[in-house]
């Protein structure tokens, strides 16, 4: 039982009961962040702000939205966009935030990869972050269905159909997810529930986990330097602010974040008012029509890279159809980043440019490959585009297959992975020009390729190399 005395003011009264001074210290005033950082370290606060905007604008939209296939389209495009005071602003803010939040997530994620902030004790930060990526994806997909436009409907049709590729239970699973034999009213209503209740709830819980996971291993810094946070914090508290290698979250870290946030908000609101079509696809302003397939169906831009991994396999491989091959790669692509800390077989924590071996090359190849996948994910998969998609999709898997060899500096193994990839490129090109047919060779190539993909992270030994 705490010792309670007569409080002189509200602050004291609360402090005796809730220890708010101590809480503030733990959460902000004495939450230590490295000083040696750049603006990329502000992306977390930018993401938190975008998520807050999404929640608040979402609450306002929820007051007028009708989750019914007969009413949904008009409740969004007439009631909210035209009748409700500033409804159009909330909707534009919600739609644009939902899109740019993924841009910031990708920047945040690749910052983590570049500075090797996913290993040596930081694995849980990485995993909880990837969980947020997956749950945000589910949130985005379910939300995109709600306006019940043409793209809402057909994206739902295509994506729910993908679950049909799962062996044995696929067909039943699709019906279970849709709540009907085809995408229809029950589908809309259940995705509405997911979007406004279940997914936000899970996301908030994982955000808590993500923040907590930072506490023990601490935030990384620009040089990957291992800092004695306790000692440096003592220095800071003793007034040696210039010498200390750490700064408190409040006010020093946040003062920089607010500036970055301000600049970002200019960009964000410019998009909200003047440049929103990229986030609010014009085709989705046509009401859903199950009888009329749009000439081009594509997901929102942030799903294009994994969509292209799915589409990249344009030919059958032995007993597996192109669709099966695509689904296998697509399934892997969606979860493989979780395993990144175990594909990286080197303990050094440093920016990519200063890491040993070819990690920097690997990093930039990954960035380029993701961009190529994204762009070709939207282009019609006709003619040579199909082959480029294949090269980029196989390239994506190959980069992961090669990572253990790159980081453990096993040159022979790396050469083997590269050779296998090039062999697949040649085989794919021959399929493209119809010169090969589905032979034993291509099946064997894929078997070896996937064996490398799965066995390398397991059997290549960690090189150590911590500094």
């Amino acid at each position: 039982m705490a010792h309670i005395t007569k409080a002189n003011n509200l602050h004291e009264w609360l402090d005796q009961r809730l220890a708010i001074d101590k809480l503030w210290k733990v959460l902000a005033a004495e939450y230590w962040i490295p000083k040696n950082i750049n603006f990329l370290w502000a992306m977390g606060v930018v993401l938190m702000t975008m998520f807050t905007i999404l929640v608040i604008s979402g609450i306002f939209l929820l007051m007028y939205y009708k989750p019914d296939t007969k009413l949904a389209f008009d409740s969004v495009n007439y009631t909210i966009m035209q009748e409700v005071w500033y409804g159009w602003l909330w909707r534009h803010m919600h739609a644009v935030a939902a899109s740019v939040v993924f841009l910031v997530i990708y920047i945040h994620m690749f910052t983590g990869i570049y500075y090797a902030s996913y290993k040596r004790g930081r694995e849980m930060i990485w995993i909880s972050g990837m969980l947020l990526f997956v749950t945000f994806s589910a949130e985005a997909f379910s939300g995109y269905m709600l306006p019940w436009g043409q793209m809402s409907y057909w994206a739902a049709q295509v994506i729910t159909n993908l679950f049909g590729g799962i062996p044995f239970i696929g067909d039943e699973l699709v019906i279970w997810i849709r709540g009907n034999f085809y995408v229809s009213d029950p589908t809309l209503t259940r995705f509405f529930m997911l979007h406004v209740f279940l997914m936000p709830l899970i996301i908030m819980a994982i955000i808590g986990l993500h923040f907590y996971s930072l506490r023990i291993p601490h935030v990384n810094n620009q040089d990957g330097e291992e800092i004695d946070f306790d000692a440096e914090a003592e220095k800071y508290k003793a007034g040696l602010k210039k010498e200390a290698k750490v700064i408190p979250f409040w006010p020093v870290f946040l003062s920089k974040d607010f500036f970055v946030l301000g600049v970002f908000m200019i960009f964000y609101f410019y998009l909200v008012f003047y440049h929103y079509n990229f986030a609010m696809d014009p085709i989705n302003f046509d009401p859903a029509n199950p009888m009329k397939t749009p000439p081009h169906i594509y997901p929102e831009w942030y799903f294009l890279w994994s969509y292209e991994v799915l589409r990249g396999f344009f030919f059958d491989v032995g007993p597996l159809s192109a669709m099966d091959m695509g689904l296998i790669a697509f399934g892997i692509a969606n979860v493989i980043f979780f395993a990144l800390p175990w594909f990286d077989k080197n303990d050094e924590v440093a920016p990519a440019s200063r890491r040993s071996g070819g990690f920097a090359i690997w990093f930039w190849l990954m960035v380029v490959d993701m961009i190529v996948l994204t762009i070709w994910g939207k282009l019609p998969p006709t003619g040579f585009n199909a082959y480029i998609g294949y090269v980029a999709a196989v390239g994506f898997l190959a980069l992961f297959a090669a990572l253990p060899a790159v980081t453990a500096r096993k040159k022979g193994l790396l050469m083997f992975v590269i050779l296998m990839t090039l062999a697949l490129y040649v085989a794919g090109y021959m399929e493209y020009t119809k010169a090969l047919g589905n032979g034993f060779v291509i099946v064997a190539l894929f078997v070896i390729f996937y064996a490398l993909f799965f066995l390398n992270p397991v059997f290549v030994r960690n090189r150590g190399g911590a500094r």
């Binding site: 159009w88 602010k241 410019y270 831009w301 961009i371 939207k378």
Partner: protein, 304 residues
């Protein structure tokens, strides 16, 4: 300096991605078409000197008013819209405003050879003739009729009237209460409402039978298609959507702009508000960023 380099890299990468998925991808998905000229160059000119007073007689003698009303001249429609649509597929247009929205050369050509002017040869032929019968008068009669229609047309026409005359007999516009049988009235009771809805359903069914498809409601077309697409589509639907049942309707450039302006007013009603609020919000965050920068400098001076 390092921070600016990082920013530059991100801007370039995001810029390339944006270019690839928006302008470039869309240029690949939507084949290029020439922008509208509204010259209707494939149609021949009709004798220039029409006489409006002779045209008034010619329009009676040639039987135009057997199907078309001219309400401004107190010539009523011979049938109500639903009955007319049962006979012809679609309610024939009232001619009061027609010369205010339709190109005059086009108007003459429509009277002379509707299938050619409408570009509907893929829908109508000798076995399935166009509902409007061929015109057997002389080119001078044609010029006179056009001169008459021009003389009765209002000098100025509102965007809404342009829409009603040009598009309103096939396309609903539910966000402005417009239906293909006219403006939806305020109903006194459920019977009136049911009666109106029945008529609308009958008309729509006839229209669907006639065209092979139900023409879309255009309420959100300004967002789903955009200005340029609508303008070019109206000038020549076949050029953009080959084989569509929609006829070329021969609007002038000005009338098309009015139709687009009206669609914008209906589908993007808050555009002005958006454009007027935008600068203030941006200004707020510019000030916010400047103040935040100054505060950051002050705080970080102590730790650097």
């Amino acid at each position: 300096m390092r921070e600016l380099k990082i920013l530059a890299i991100i801007v370039v990468l995001v810029g390339i991605t944006y270019w690839g998925i928006e302008p470039y991808a869309h240029s690949q998905m939507h084949p290029h078409h020439e922008p509208a000229t509204f010259s209707y160059g494939d149609l021949q000119a009709i004798a220039a000197n029409g006489d409006a007073s002779k045209g008034a007689t010619a329009i009676m003698n040639n039987g135009c008013t057997g199907c078309h009303s001219i309400k401004s001249q107190n010539i009523p429609a011979p049938m109500d819209p639903v009955t007319a649509s049962a006979s012809y597929g679609v309610n024939p247009p009232d001619l009061s405003n027609i010369a205010a929205v339709v190109d005059h050369k086009f108007l003459a050509n429509v009277i002379k050879d509707p299938v050619k002017a409408f570009k509907l040869a893929h829908k109508f032929n000798d076995t399935k003739p166009f509902p409007m019968p061929a015109f057997y008068g002389s080119d001078q009669d044609l010029a006179d009729i056009v001169a008459y229609l021009v003389s009765i047309a209002p000098k100025e026409i509102s965007p809404k009237e342009a829409y009603e005359t040009a598009c309103g007999r096939c396309h609903n516009l539910r966000y402005d209460n417009w239906t293909v049988i006219g403006e939806k009235p305020k109903f006194k009771n459920e019977i009136e409402k049911a009666d109106f809805e029945l008529k609308l359903a009958q008309y729509e069914a006839n229209l669907k039978k006639y065209l092979g498809t139900t023409p879309p409601d255009l309420s959100m077309y300004i967002r789903s298609r955009g200005h340029e697409y609508i303008r070019d589509f109206v000038e020549d639907p076949q050029k953009i959507l080959h084989g569509t049942a929609m006829p070329r309707v021969g609007l002038t450039k000005e009338a098309t702009e009015k139709v687009v302006a009206y669609l914008e007013k209906v589908g993007d009603r808050k555009k002005e508000k958006r454009n007027s609020l935008g600068p203030w919000v941006l200004l707020y965050f510019v000030v916010f960023a400047v103040l935040a920068y100054l505060w950051k400098q002050k705080i970080w001076r102590e730790v650097h």
